[in-house]
Subunit: 189 residues, 2 copies
Amino acid sequence: MRPPKVLEEDVLESLTKVFREKGYEGASLSDLAEATNLKKASLYHRFPKGKQAMAEAVLQNVNKWVQENIFSVLQNEILTPEERLKNALSQISVLYSAGEETCIFRALSMRVGLELFEEQINSGMQLWIINFKEIGIELNFEEDEALDLALQTLIEIQGALVVSRTMRDKNIFSQTLQKIETRYLHRFL
Amino acid sequence: MRPPKVLEEDVLESLTKVFREKGYEGASLSDLAEATNLKKASLYHRFPKGKQAMAEAVLQNVNKWVQENIFSVLQNEILTPEERLKNALSQISVLYSAGEETCIFRALSMRVGLELFEEQINSGMQLWIINFKEIGIELNFEEDEALDLALQTLIEIQGALVVSRTMRDKNIFSQTLQKIETRYLHRFL
DNA sequence: GTCTATAGCTAGATAGAC
DNA sequence: GTCTATCTAGCTATAGAC
């Protein structure tokens, strides 16, 4: 067992970057090899099932990051619900580099990607809804209000990422996060 | 001058469908030829500059449709501002097939597409902002409120398209359009 | 204007040396 | 575990007959 030239986690990070920027079909194995600093054959050694397995590993790794850095923060009973929400929103800003990077779900949700990764994308989105609904309930919203608010939160995050990218204005993203916080904490807008 | 086998407008419609579903890099010339019912060489006869020119023509054609069916409706002084807004929102639902089809800007806004079509995408988005700001002003919002509202409208439309697609629930899109209408007409939410 | 045929290249994937 | 070299299939694009 020879030691790896590049750590598994660094490989995943590089793969994630390429899939986010170029999408599933736009990301070529040459792109992926170059980004990871490995040759194509070495990438295949790590992922014998090929490109699809690389994208699946990326999705799994992002989901894990989100669970550890966002959902678990929302559920952390040591903090007040207000603090949890604020911390989670600031981690969301980290996840998307303040609006500069796209959502991996979106990047992989063109026709081919959606067919290949439907389950992971779908269940990943459901978790966002569940966790944001729960924090809404803890902030004293009614159950159906909390569900609407969670859905609205996802819509605004995704929309702000698209609009701030296509209009090349990342303030749009940070303003949207601020608006979400205000709505949860002050019940208006 | 031999008569064309397929009308120019039908070719554009088919090309649009493929680029929306698969994105720029995911759309192969084989896909495009099959969808238009033309052979690859015939497509090159119509678009001598190749695939990039096809996507540019698609963008131009969509922008024209939006101008004629959405922006001009918003500006139609024969109708009240309320009627104009309602009509425009219902045309938006047509544009996206009630949430089943994606936005062409989004489909072409991965790295490569955004580099190639930045100008058209950027100016297209600006027009949405301008037109929705104007209808807000006509509905008696202050100028800066109207701008915020226009931006929020774009964000929600784009976000609802992403979320309703990734969660496979197109009600999300129609509910969002309803919410936008309510906010413009009744000044809450 | 449309087609068949094909050029030249890059894609994803594999074999086998080290 | 990583590499060079290579396979086949698909890609964008073009030539030239009809």
